[in-house]
């Protein structure tokens, strides 16, 4: 089966070589006949890939998410008790968002169970369902949302980061400045305690995620020991494919969900509020963090080393693509746009740069994906990989 698969891809060579030339870049399908040494290196990389990714990438990131959400919960508890500047809880919130953006590319395993991803951050929310639900909670005065256990049983839209973002940055958040824990200040205190409930819920979810990725947990065992009796992964190739999909689907998700819906056909039709975490001004930070995280997975998994270096040094090329993306995002933080997604999308130069960034991310997903599939001999079925 793989001989036929390779046959298809070797036929793609002219197409992608042409594309690469058109882009002035080298991202054709470069299939070199592997030497015996290269084959043994590939084997060496693939044989411990899952272990490296689990211990060197996934576990520490979930641990960090647990840590940041715990600090957020502590910070919120203190804030609701004593009041003070909103700066403190907001800072803890942004740290938690970044910790989440550093691991939300892992969408399989424990994250896909119990609606944890959706509960942690209900997004995208094109129709504003989440916002309406949060407003209903605020209006209702239902104190059960103060307790994480009860909150975790409510709508996914009212118990995660996007709900907390509205409490801390949305309309009415200014009332939090008056929080003092007193009965007299009911509305502000309710809002604060609801935020605390969310923070504690996030802490609980992050703890579950971290625990369920520890050694001996079912997903870890399944990834480390593929085989006939393993219901999730029958072969090592299926395990590699799982991580491979994290990279390609993760990049595509940034392009398709976090960027493409925003740009509109012109400045008048831009939709900056479709961005993830626009309300807290973190849209670009989240995208950058996502990219950094995916690049780290590539590094820890040693995926780059599987790519050919001749005739074009593809590992170096992948580095360049990521560096370009970071520079482009950092460029938006200058005086002109100040990192504000709305300002970027209103300005023609900003729009062009944003579009170019999208193109580069897409190019990375497609080009890297296809080359890696060939290099690692992954069965990228036409129907199986992206059916309907």
């Amino acid at each position: 089966m793989f001989a036929l698969f390779s046959c298809f891809f070797s036929r793609y060579l002219p197409l992608f070589a042409g594309l690469a030339l058109a882009l002035g870049m080298g991202f054709g399908i470069l299939v070199a006949s592997p030497s015996a040494q290269a084959a043994s290196e590939t084997e060496e990389i693939l044989s411990h890939l899952a272990e490296r990714v689990i211990t060197g990438h996934i576990q520490p990131r979930y641990k960090d998410l647990q840590q940041k959400s715990s600090e957020l919960a502590l910070g919120m508890a203190q804030f609701c008790e004593t009041g003070g500047s909103l700066h403190a809880p907001r800072q803890l919130f942004t740290k938690t968002v970044l910790a989440f953006a550093a691991i939300d590319h892992i969408q399989f395993g424990p994250a896909s169970e119990e609606y944890r991803l959706e509960r942690f951050a209900y997004w995208p929310d094109r129709k504003g369902r989440g916002l309406r639900a949060v407003r209903r909670v605020l209006k209702s005065g239902d104190k059960t949302v103060w307790k994480a256990a009860a909150l975790s049983q409510k709508s996914v839209a009212v118990q995660g980061l996007t709900a907390l973002e509205f409490l801390l940055y949305g309309k009415g958040s200014e009332t939090l400045a008056t929080v003092d824990g007193s009965e007299a200040n009911a509305a502000a205190n309710f809002r604060c305690r609801y935020g605390l409930g969310i923070a504690q819920n996030l802490q609980a979810i992050a703890t579950e995620l971290s625990d369920e990725w520890q050694a001996g947990a079912p997903i870890v065992t399944a990834l480390l020991a593929p085989g006939a009796g393993n219901k999730l992964y029958r072969t090592r190739k299926e395990v590699i494919l799982e991580f491979y999909k994290v990279v390609t689907a993760g990049l595509s998700r940034i392009h398709d969900l976090k960027m493409s819906p925003l740009i509109g056909r012109d400045a008048a039709h831009a939709k900056p509020r479709r961005a993830a975490f626009w309300r807290s001004g973190m849209a670009l930070d989240v995208i950058r963090q996502n990219l950094t995280a995916i690049e780290d997975l590539i590094t820890v998994g040693r995926f780059r080393e599987l790519l050919p270096k001749k005739p074009i040094d593809l590992p170096a090329y992948v580095d360049k693509l990521f560096q370009y993306q970071y520079r482009a995002i950092d460029g938006f933080k200058g005086d002109k746009h100040r990192g504000d997604i709305a300002l970027i999308l209103q300005d023609e130069n900003g729009r062009a740069a944003f579009q170019q960034l999208m193109n580069k991310i897409n190019h990375t997903a497609v080009g890297f994906g296809r080359n890696l599939a060939v290099a690692a001999d992954l069965p990228m079925g036409f129907n199986a990989s992206d059916g309907d």
Binding site: S112, E113, Y115, R126, D256, P261, G381
Partner: protein, 401 residues
């Protein structure tokens, strides 16, 4: 066939010849094929596909080769054959907006039409028995609600109306044998052209199987699976004997859940889902890509491209009957003989014939008739004629003649 773009002003008044030229139709292969007399008498199929250059096309073909192929502006999905006509319509896969009508007659140019503004196709359609009306599953992506588009094929596929699909993400659809009742698989997944193929509502999805009166657009019956299965997207369906609806699902929840993916439904009852044997169910990878019924309406083929196999099921009682291994196999269509199917794969293979079913295909289990014990690990000694082509065959195939 009438001029292009008669309706909605969407195809900017291209002439017929203009469209053909624009689409760069490659007729040499088709012309060569049509000179082969016996192609006219063989089972004729249609499917979308991709070639080695990455170009998308749709073709009318037999096991001997193409009768006609047309290039597509993007990836196609399913097709619908128009009764009392030689027209076949190929639909863009979600969230695409094009559809193209073509026929074996090379003198008739393909006709292109589009989903109206604010709608995208989900890749499936079905004709009324008289061949006049075409029903298509569509998405109103601003409101995120499913629609069924209605077009008049006798008037250049002009859109004449639409009605609700009574759910989100309508996908496959079929008409019951009364020719009037439409059954729709509302997959429950919300997508938008601006977000590509990303799913936007995993947490809130609610797939359903609905029956709609095509004359009034009224909802006749709606079935939602148990709450615990709300991430089991009902995607593809076909009509077996006695108007029994067979459906195939894709599970969007945790990989370890592995719910049953193949179901059957008779109007007025509850849908029933059936597991494959324990050693086969996990191998399906929570994903059925396509379903089809054999010419006698007894056997259902349900493809599992992620599991590299096509499974077969008895329509009468949902019993698993065996499987055919086919790497990246997804397209299934009614075959030429009893219990026969066409199977196609993303690795270029097309197969026509009969699977070796492990049990009687047309007799439900009861005390008088006992099925033999099914040994799912036995690979069938099936009777398929197989060919490897240069095309990656797409998700679906249909029998045209």
């Amino acid at each position: 066939m009438l001029a292009v773009g008669l309706h909605l002003g969407l195809s900017s008044g291209l002439s017929m010849g203009g469209l053909s030229a624009l689409m760069g139709e490659k007729n040499s292969q088709a012309a060569a094929a049509t000179s082969t007399e016996n192609l006219e008498t063989e089972a004729l199929f249609a499917a979308a596909r991709r070639d080695a250059d990455g170009d998308f096309s749709a073709a009318l073909f037999t096991m001997k080769g193409d009768l006609r192929s047309i290039p597509l502006p993007g990836r196609g999905h399913d097709l619908a054959a128009r009764p009392h006509s030689r027209d076949v319509v190929v639909f863009a896969r979600r969230p695409g907006r094009f559809a193209i009508v073509f026929s074996p007659n090379l003198k008739i140019d393909p006709l292109l039409f589009h989903a109206q503004a604010g709608r995208h196709f989900y890749g499936h359609g079905v004709f009324s028995p008289d061949g006049r009306l075409l029903f298509t599953s569509e998405n109103d992506y601003e409101d995120g609600v499913g629609k069924i588009g209605i077009r008049d094929a006798s008037k250049g596929y002009q859109q004449i109306g639409e009605f609700s699909s009574y759910g989100v993400g309508p996908h496959d659809l079929a008409l019951l044998m009364d020719g009037r009742t439409l059954v729709v698989a509302n997959g429950g997944l919300e997508t938008s052209p601006t977000s590509g193929r990303q799913i936007l509502n995993l947490a809130t999805m609610e797939p359903s199987l609905v029956y709609i009166d095509t004359q009034s657009g009224d909802l006749l019956e709606k079935h939602v699976l148990a709450r615990s299965l709300h991430q089991l997207s009902i995607r593809h369906l076909t009509i077996a004997s006695h108007n029994r609806v067979a459906f195939g699902c894709q599970y969007k929840g945790a990989a370890g859940d592995q719910p049953a993916l193949v179901g059957f439904h008779d109007r007025g009852s509850e849908p029933q889902l059936f597991h494959a044997p324990d050693d086969v169910q996990p191998a399906l990878k929570n994903y059925i890509g396509s379903v089809a019924v054999d010419p006698f309406g007894d056997v259902i083929a349900a493809s599992a491209p992620r599991g590299n196999m096509i499974t077969f099921w008895r329509a009468a009682d949902g019993k698993y009957l065996g499987r055919e291994i086919l790497t990246d196999g997804c397209g299934v269509a009614r075959g030429a003989e009893r219990h026969g199917f066409l199977l196609t794969s993303g690795h270029g293979v097309k197969k026509l014939g009969q699977p070796d079913l492990e049990g009687p295909a047309d007799e439900p289990e009861n005390s008088a008739v006992k099925s033999p014990e099914i040994k799912s690990d036995t690979i069938n000694a099936s009777a398929f004629e197989s060919q490897t082509t240069r095309f990656q065959w797409d998700n679906h195939a249909v029998r045209v003649r």
